[in-house]
């Protein structure tokens, strides 16, 4: 029982990490409060449905969706979000989210879409007594690869260092010859693309409809806050930990499980706003 719950928690934790890392880039590092993140997740799931129905192979589906979502996000950032203050960005991403949701409602029918699993990913794998579907193993594999790749890229490469510098002190970074505008647009696009990949990987496991983004949006915010603003490693740890918490609560204390994430969110915001490994303290207002 315990092992079964832990495996399920690990699976959902890895898929959550993909989406939450995107938000960790946009919200944690760039400090753009991105209420459109759930919409990009939803977009990814719809791309999955559309491309799979047209018989495109799974790796191409993932790449294509990420690219499409990234381009949309890049354009949106360039045209709408660039150079705006915090409050305006909050208001604007709410609007972007509404626009994307309504656009999806217009392009695809306003009803749940059937997401098919390709034949070669159907079936189950058994570990002793525990049964896991092949597709979720595939999703976890992709998710883990992306998660580790992103962590290495942000924390240990030159590009990652430029991104960290541009988000921490834009003017100095620009003075040193880095095109911060392009870099931030790129970062926002990567964050949105990660959300879309999360949506692609989750599509066959959940119900695909235009409203599917709002739950994952809130959960991703919880992950970024708990992990600590601006910390990729923190977000990974928080995703895995929160998924386990959720899984074990659902298994052993089902009547309280739905509350647990929100209690964790409010508790962290009030008592430990820096999160687990936060670099930035969120600070107090006067008063």
């Amino acid at each position: 029982m315990i092992i079964d719950v832990a495996i399920r928690g690990l699976l959902s934790g890895v898929s959550l990490a993909t989406v939450a890392l995107g938000l960790s880039l946009i919200f944690g590092m760039m400090r753009t409060i991105n209420f459109a993140h759930g919409a990009f997740f939803m977009l990814g799931a719809f791309f999955y449905v559309e491309l799979t129905n047209r018989g495109v192979a799974a790796p191409l589906v993932i790449l294509g969706s990420a690219l499409a979502a990234g381009v949309i996000a890049g354009i949106a950032y360039r045209l709408v979000l660039k150079g705006m203050g915090f409050l305006e960005q909050a208001l604007l991403t709410i609007g972007l989210s509404a626009m994307l949701t309504e656009a999806v409602r217009n392009v695809w029918d306003n009803k749940p879409q059937p997401a098919r699993v390709p034949d070669y990913l159907k079936g189950v794998v058994t570990f002793g007594d525990n049964v896991v579907s092949k597709y979720s193993l595939f999703a976890v594999g992709i998710g883990l690869t992306i998660t580790i790749a992103l962590w290495v890229a942000i924390d240990h490469t030159s590009l990652g260092m430029q991104i960290r510098a541009a988000t921490e002190n834009g003017i100095t970074t620009r003075t040193l010859g880095v095109n911060t505008d392009r870099l931030l647009t790129f970062t926002y696009a990567i964050g949105a693309a990660l959300a879309a990949v999360g949506g692609v990987l989750q599509a066959p496991l959940v119900q695909v409809d235009a409203d599917m983004g709002s739950t994952i949006l809130i959960t991703s915010f919880i992950v970024v806050i708990v992990g600590g603003m601006g910390s990729i490693l923190g977000a990974i740890i928080a995703s895995l930990g929160l998924a386990q918490l959720n899984g074990f609560m659902a298994a052993y204390a089902p009547s309280y499980s739905a509350y647990s994430l929100y209690v964790v969110l409010i508790g962290f915001l009030l008592l430990r706003p820096g999160g687990l490994i936060g670099k930035w303290y969120l600070g107090e207002e006067d008063g």
Partner: protein, 343 residues
């Protein structure tokens, strides 16, 4: 802000203060008689009240709330439960809904007003989600289905028309109260806290006190709006707990004009509901167009329809912008990195 100056307590200044409200109310009443669609208009008025109440927080006191769905839902559920279990009297239901809403507002204020906008948004969102989960969890709230409730008013009948007139009067009183509030010295200090809280603190006003009071008032009126929806629809709608309600209130208020007396929020919400009803049957792209219009209005810093029409758009939007950029060192971190200055 609108020039609602109460410098002299003459009747002419009172007339200037309230005449737009009275005119708007009369226009709505005539429109209602003309179309005969009372349910739609009652709904528009209830959303107008909710947006006005939300604007007390966001536009007038400078507290960023992303959880006003909590108060709206709490108002509707309190009213419904009072009607079903205690007394069918509508007035009792409305007053108890306001009390519960003010209580939730006070609770949110307690944990948010001293904190940054970012944490305000997320904490209020978390509280609203907790309430939603609680309502789903409990069987006596009808879980995720809501329930039917038929309130009876002491003063009005059960027809759609009397419900509309009743709603119009209640919303009118609430709007008049808020207009009065913004014109009092309390309201002025509240605006001061929004524009430059550090300065107000140095002048001897405690910003958190004014923000908390604004949050309590906002919570009470938002809950009243939720309770009014129960009166004209006769059901307690579970949909009011959804986070989309908070988003919609933001969109309505910003479309109309954030912090533009009560008229910005009121016209934004009423216009939103009426236009949606008018166009949704003709074009399925309507919600997309509204969302696009909203993004353009925020991006171009027009500051909303109402202030743009009265050519005060830029002054209103500048107030909002100044609040963002000058509040505290913390908010400097919140702005985009490219805008940051070297300390």
């Amino acid at each position: 802000m609108a020039k609602n100056s109460l410098s002299s307590k003459q009747s002419s200044s009172l007339g200037r203060l309230y005449s737009p409200l009275i005119l708007a109310g009369m226009a709505l009443a005539i429109f209602a008689l003309w179309t005969g669609d009372y349910t739609l208009l009652s709904n528009a008025l209830a959303w107008g009240l909710a947006a006005m109440a939300f604007d007390v927080c966001m536009g007038h006191a400078g507290v960023f709330s992303f959880g006003h769905s909590a108060m709206m839902a709490a108002g509707a559920y309190t009213a419904g439960l009072m009607v079903v279990h205690v007394t069918p009297n509508l007035e009792v239901a409305l007053v108890s809904a306001m009390a519960v809403g003010a209580l939730i507002g006070g609770l949110m204020a307690l944990v948010t007003v001293r904190r940054s906008h970012l944490r305000q948004a997320l904490i209020t969102m978390g509280i609203a989600e907790l309430l939603r989960v609680f309502i789903v969890d409990m069987s006596w709230t009808g879980s995720a289905n809501g329930f039917a409730a038929r309130p009876d008013s002491l003063f009005a009948g059960a027809s759609g028309r009397s419900a509309f007139i009743y709603t119009l009067i209640v919303v009118g009183i609430a709007a008049a109260f808020l207009i009065w509030l913004y014109a009092t010295s309390f309201g002025r200090v509240m605006h001061g806290v929004r524009d430059d809280s550090t300065r107000m603190a140095h002048l001897g006003f405690q910003p958190s006190l004014f923000r908390s009071t604004a949050f309590v008032i906002s919570g009470g009126f938002t809950a009243l709006a939720g309770a009014l929806t129960v009166y004209h629809t006769r059901v307690v709608d579970f949909g009011l707990t959804n986070v989309h309600v908070s988003t919609q209130l933001i969109i309505m208020t910003v479309l109309g004009g954030l912090g533009y007396s009560v008229y910005g929020a009121l016209s934004g919400a009423i216009g939103y509901v009426l236009l949606e009803d008018l166009f949704i049957g003709r074009t399925s792209q309507w919600p997309l167009l509204i969302a696009a219009a909203y993004v353009i209005i925020v991006r171009a810093r027009i500051g909303g329809i109402a202030p743009a029409l009265t050519r005060r758009g830029h002054s209103v939007w500048n107030l909002v912008r100044r609040r963002v950029s000058t509040n505290s060192p913390e908010n400097e971190k919140d702005s985009t990195p490219t805008e940051r200055t070297i300390p």
